[in-house]
């Protein structure tokens, strides 16, 4: 476990800890990446691959899969309701945090993140394998409903939040926040009509929360960034957003687990919905 004075140090484990627990039958390692073929090029021994789009999202509606399909996904990967799932991946754990957030949507509480993600594991010269593990099927009782009302925000809720001047955190790059870019730096255009941000949002790019080696900053540093500089206060009702909800799930993880905020929601519709939505107000500054 890693303890940099985090509110929930039990959710963050080091690469060394993971290396020592590869054979633990109560754990399942899940790799989740932006690079769709990265897992196939090599992964941590025993890790299964869960794809943010094909596994977790409904392919015909812009939404997540049903609790029944989620239970089936888990069982295929040998995950039961009481399995502790350790997430890691590329891009400083963007997609690992997104997958973790989705697991929490379905009520799975035993979740962890490997600090530093895939980059740190590789940088340390640790072993990767191309062997895909096969586990005995898990036993997963589906949740009665997704926890959309607890950790997920929709357009109407976010609009109300904005109108009531409640805390909104825009985790995109400064250029996207100011409306100068309609795509992420280093990425092609992803189909957004307008640049800008949700009225009243504070700009705190997700990257502020990580060190150069992709590990999370200490709680003291995080409090300085989110509380002293961005003005959040413990107990605030916060909504975070980005373009499609992956970078903001990283910030959701930071606020929820590392700083201990109890009311944080991820607006996964994010700018690809807000920026295109008829009637949605924006700010540019």
């Amino acid at each position: 476990m890693i303890d940099k004075n985090y509110a929930h140090p039990e959710v963050l484990v080091s690469t060394e800890w993971v290396a020592e627990h590869l054979a633990d039958p109560c754990l399942r390692l899940v790799e989740s990446n932006e690079d769709i073929l990265l897992y196939d090029t090599g992964h941590i021994q025993g890790a299964v691959h869960i794809d943010w789009r094909s596994d977790l999202q409904d392919q015909m509606i812009r939404d997540y899969i049903t609790p029944e399909k989620f239970a089936s996904l888990c069982e295929r990967h040998g995950i039961s309701n009481d399995t502790t799932v350790v997430f890691y991946g590329d891009k400083s754990n963007w997609w690992a945090c997104y997958a973790l957030w989705a697991f929490r949507l379905f009520g799975h509480t035993k979740v962890m993140v490997m600090d530093g993600g895939r980059e740190k594991w590789v940088a340390e010269g640790r072993h990767l394998t191309r062997a895909v593990p096969h586990f005995q099927s898990g036993t997963y009782l589906p949740a009665t409903h997704r926890k959309d009302d607890e950790i997920r925000a929709f357009f109407d809720q976010t609009l109300t939040h904005s109108k009531e001047n409640k805390p909104l955190i825009d985790v995109r790059s400064p250029g996207e926040f100011r409306g100068e870019l309609t795509h992420m730096p280093e990425y092609p255009q992803e189909g957004v009509l307008r640049g800008g941000h949700i009225p009243g949002a504070a700009s705190v790019p997700w990257k502020m929360a990580v060190n150069d080696d992709a590990t999370f900053k200490s709680a003291e540093d995080l409090r300085r960034i989110y509380e002293q500089e961005a003005g959040l206060r413990p107990g605030d009702d916060v909504i975070a957003y980005c373009r499609i909800g992956e970078r903001s799930s990283h910030t959701w993880f930071v606020l929820t687990y590392l700083l201990g905020y109890k009311n944080v929601r991820n607006y996964d519709g994010s700018w690809t919905e807000w920026g295109n939505r008829v009637g949605a107000p924006i700010e540019r500054n």
Partner: protein, 154 residues
């Protein structure tokens, strides 16, 4: 109907079209593994070198173009470490598939072969840089043709 693609690329497309999704992934990984072999080799010289970091790609890409007296192109490519696996695979595929094509042929190649090779499921949001290498090769060919045209007029 005559193929719109150079012969080596047509052969690669036909090979991929006959593969299952799992076999496609394996082949793409194999091509990605050989991406580093597409870099310039010791002693090679080029007619055009274009090394840059663009906004729409995650890392620096270097394109090196050599054109023979018979107008046959040879490409060499260098990739930064942050480039996605699919983009690495497409680098190897294009260096092999476009080898010997003329600059005019390269400019005329439609990008619709990409889903045929990669499969529609893998061409999606956040994997669009799979098209980037072809764009850069076309850009290098266009620059070379413009230089040739300018030299002719002088």
């Amino acid at each position: 109907m005559e193929s719109q693609y150079p012969e080596p690329l047509t052969r690669i497309i036909c090979l991929f079209e006959g593969l299952s999704d799992a076999e496609k992934r394996e082949s793409l990984i194999s091509y990605a593994d050989s991406a580093s072999k597409q870099a310039p080799r010791s002693g090679e010289t080029f007619d055009l070198e274009d090394i840059r970091k663009d906004e729409e790609c995650t890392d620096t890409v270097g394109v090196y173009l050599k054109i023979s007296p018979t107008r046959a192109c040879t490409f060499r490519i260098t990739l930064g470490p942050q480039v996605q696996t699919l983009t690495k695979a497409m680098t190897s595929i294009l260096c092999k598939g476009l080898d010997g094509a003329s600059p005019e042929q390269i400019l005329d190649i439609p990008a619709d072969f990409v889903p045929k090779i990669v499969g529609a499921d893998l061409v999606r949001q956040r994997s669009q840089t799979v098209y980037y290498i072809l764009t850069r090769m076309k850009s290098a060919s266009r620059v070379w043709l413009n230089r040739e045209r300018a030299a002719t007029h002088h």
